[in-house]
């Protein structure tokens, strides 16, 4: 048995597999498949200061090797999360990450304040949600705004702070540097790539929000490239995600530069995927006489 534990920003994870925000709710449902302690951690559904109903349906469409979604941050609001979901989550023996999104910098700061008073393990700043009109991705696409929001939230946040990046940018490495300079303890990436699908019969976009976020295996090569670029540009750890489907993908993402991983879309076809991926990584490490999974991170040998 190889050592699968990893540390991100001082927080220890039993293994590098974290459920990706928005695909796993607050854990209760997938907790009916396997104990959540099988996962290194859970990044909770994105929460906002006040309850949000999200976008009207359809919120999902299938694309080649991927999906588009536009849930639009439906959630019960930070207070309900803290009161009703966090206590249960904290009993599951896994790292709990709160993913927060807001309309204004003040929203983000207020949530960071509230969550800093709880026993949530980490906060993930979602400035990359492409599916809401305001809040989300507009904070995440310029270095200035990323630097600024990170800095402001940092001042209100007494938990390790992860900044989640959008791939819909020209230069992801500079954005990551801005987050690092702003005080981020870790980077998570990638959120979804904006996409669209149109029903040719009705000429209507299938997703009611017109556009949605592309995730799943289709985006994996883009995610690997971006993780590699960012790992060359910052010294804080990266939580890599975007299309990880097999244990081979997980190993590849770590070799590209990730310290931990989030697993989203593949859950929808195989709820057990993160558990199987952890087993696959373990087998790979054993077969290759690698003592610890941390030895993979960033070991790509570019030409």
């Amino acid at each position: 048995m190889a050592d699968l534990s990893v540390k991100v920003a001082g927080v220890s994870f039993a293994n590098p597999l974290i459920a990706a925000s928005g695909t796993f709710g607050f854990g209760r449902e997938y907790g009916e498949f396997y104990p959540l302690s099988k996962l290194g951690g859970i990044s909770c559904k994105g929460i906002t200061l006040k309850r949000r109903d999200g976008n009207p349906p359809p919120r999902i469409a299938e694309t080649p090797s991927g999906i588009l979604n536009a849930v639009g941050l439906q959630n019960p609001g930070v207070d309900v999360f803290i009161r009703e979901d966090l206590p249960w989550l904290k009993q599951q023996n896994t790292v709990v990450i709160a993913n927060i999104a807001g309309n204004t910098v003040e929203d983000y700061c207020a949530m960071a304040e509230k969550l800093s008073e709880t026993d949530v393990d980490m906060i993930e700043l979602n400035i990359s949600c492409p599916n809401v009109k305001s809040g989300g991705v507009q904070f995440g696409t310029s270095c200035e705004s990323v630097g600024q929001i990170t800095k402001e939230v940092r001042a209100h946040c007494r938990k390790p702070l992860i900044v989640k990046l959008s791939p819909n940018v020209t230069d992801i490495a500079s954005i990551a540097q801005a987050a690092e300079a702003g005080g981020a303890d870790a980077i998570s990436m990638i959120n979804t790539l904006t996409g669209m699908k149109i029903d040719i019969r009705t000429r209507r976009p299938i997703i009611r929000n017109n556009t949605g976020g592309l995730s799943g295996a289709a985006v994996f090569p883009v995610a690997v490239r971006m993780v590699w670029q960012v790992s060359n540009a910052v010294s804080i750890p990266i939580i890599g995600m975007g299309g990880i489907t097999t244990w081979e993908d997980a190993v590849e993402m770590m070799i590209a530069g990730a310290t931990a991983l989030q697993i989203g879309t593949v859950l929808f076809s195989d709820p057990y995927a993160p558990v199987k991926i952890a087993e696959g990584i373990n087998q790979f490490l054993n077969d290759n006489h690698i003592a610890s999974v941390t030895e993979l991170t960033g070991t790509v040998i570019p030409w």
Binding site: G25, D53, P58, R59, I60
Partner: protein
């Protein structure tokens, strides 16, 4: 653990009408723990999303899914062969609540008809009103009779059974029944709900929405419902697919 994936052996997968297939899967145990109106989430090799299909029948250890080929996923399903293992997540959602003491009208429209069969099997002498566009799409009539239902057939064009809509028959017969359960296209469900409201009969309807997880985690299959005067988002996969018709906000 409430959920598990099951690999079920495909017993048969035959066309029973134009583009409509009847997939029978060996469950392994004789008693299948499924409520009428619940659904199965079927893995389709090569696809990112499972396909939700209502349980059509679940007696004698055979899980029956009747589905129409619509796009690529159901097409691949229709090509699955006897003996293959089919990966399904079942049972999911909340089905119809039926009470053996009551008299039910079970309304099915088109590909909404299948779940009403297992529902019929749970009721005492129900009235099963099923409607189809035309003759070549008619399915399951004998099955309803065998399940002890009075089967009334209508078609839009009169090419089989009576010409007309399920609501025409419902209106004529609603006095006989205590409660109504329905599954079918949304306009039909709305019409059924209106008739029930008019006559003061409780009405349960089974809704469809595009799904990902199928268990309530991803929040994609939203439906707006009114509870205690407040409009809130619920989810077809977890809170439904069967909802109290009065609570559903159509066009929400």
């Amino acid at each position: 653990m409430k959920y598990d994936i099951r690999q079920l052996r495909l017993l048969s997968n035959e066309a029973i009408a134009k583009g409509i297939y009847d997939m029978r899967l060996a469950y392994g145990e004789n008693e299948i723990p499924v409520q009428c109106g619940q659904f199965a989430h079927v893995y389709v090799p090569g696809k990112s999303l499972r396909r939700p299909i209502s349980v059509c029948d679940a007696r004698d250890g055979v899980l029956r899914l009747v589905y129409q080929v619509k796009g690529e996923g159901t097409k691949i399903m229709s090509q699955m062969k006897q003996g293959e293992q089919v990966d399904v997540l079942v049972p999911l959602g909340n089905g119809f609540c039926v009470d053996k003491e009551k008299k039910y009208a079970l309304i099915g429209g088109g590909i909404g008809v299948p779940p009403m069969l297992y529902t019929a099997a749970q009721c005492k002498e129900p009235l099963a009103i099923t409607g189809f566009r035309s003759r070549e799409l008619v399915i399951l009539q004998e099955d309803f009779a065998q399940a002890g239902a009075e089967a009334v057939l209508v078609t839009d064009d009169g090419s089989a059974g009576k010409k007309g809509f399920v609501t025409d028959v419902l209106r004529e017969r609603i006095a006989e029944v205590d409660e109504v359960c329905a599954c079918g296209p949304t306009p039909m469900l709305e019409a059924v709900a209106r008739v029930c409201a008019e006559f003061g009969k409780p009405c349960q309807i089974s809704l469809e929405e595009r799904m990902a997880c199928g268990i309530g985690a991803c929040l994609v299959c939203a439906v707006k419902v009114r509870k205690n005067g407040e409009e809130i988002m619920q989810h077809v996969c977890k809170n439904g697919p069967v909802f109290n018709a009065e609570e559903v906000v159509f066009h929400g």
